[in-house]
Amino acid sequence: MGFIGETVDSVKSIQIRQFLSQVVSFGMIVTSALIIWKALMCVTGSESPVVVVLSESMEPGFKRGDILFLHISEDPIRAGEIVVFNVDGRDIPIVHRVIKVHERLDTAEVDLLTKGDNNDEDDRLLYAQGQSLRSKVREQVLEHDVRHIEEKLEEI
């Protein structure tokens, strides 16, 4: 009786140990992936260092499904650069090119207008109503935060 009990116990403990060891290994893999992602966020300075292109608005340069690596720099944003931004209240990142820049002298604020290469129209209509028009260039947080130009009822 004691012998059988001992064998059962030892078998159970092996199974439990194996199970626990597998759980820990799995946890390690998941945490390593998370560490790599956070490290990438740190190195690039961007909240979302890898994005996927979602629309065809930048064809033939970027196709749907292409993967982009982003980074933020202290350099000011200039016309022609490709930026990734979110419209206020939406989660989808938009990858477009800056076509107009108006940068102030005194406050280091900048107004930008973007347009997808493959689009006929610029992004005026895309920006949220009353989306903050200007941003201090040195306080960017998201990928390349973009604020739009207030064109004051300009006819399109």
Partner: protein
Amino acid sequence: MHTYVYRLNVLLTEAITLLALMCAIASLSDKLNVASPSADIQVLHINWFHKQRNGNDEVSLTMNVSADLKSTFTWNTKQVFVFLAAEYETEKNYLNQISLWDAIIPSKEQAKFSYHTINKYRFTDQGNSLRGKKYNLTLHWHVMPKTGKMFSDRIVTTGHSLPEEYI
């Protein structure tokens, strides 16, 4: 240790690592290219120049944009995005860049071009400071690679100015 799944796993990891390495090397090879581009931009005619209802100045130009960007193409180039920007300074803004025209050059053969065109995008100011304004017309180009880092350069042409009065 010797199952199909394990071997497949190793194969896949090695393949992806090698692919990433090849992409990096391809991108580095772009640095070996020395480009010698040339451009010539002429403003042929000012079509109109007025103040819009909202108070912003707007001008329409007819231009001739010629350039030879063949040397910017490498084997790793997917396309070159070229655009012409008017750049000027006002009291309110120390830098204004307005893209007037752009084009995508998909191949080396089409990289030598001459376009006679009016501005594709509106040349409007934030305000009404354009009368008599001196501005530069800069041809920018962005080389977009098949894989790797994008790089860009430009040629600045100075000496352009807008009329003192509205037309």
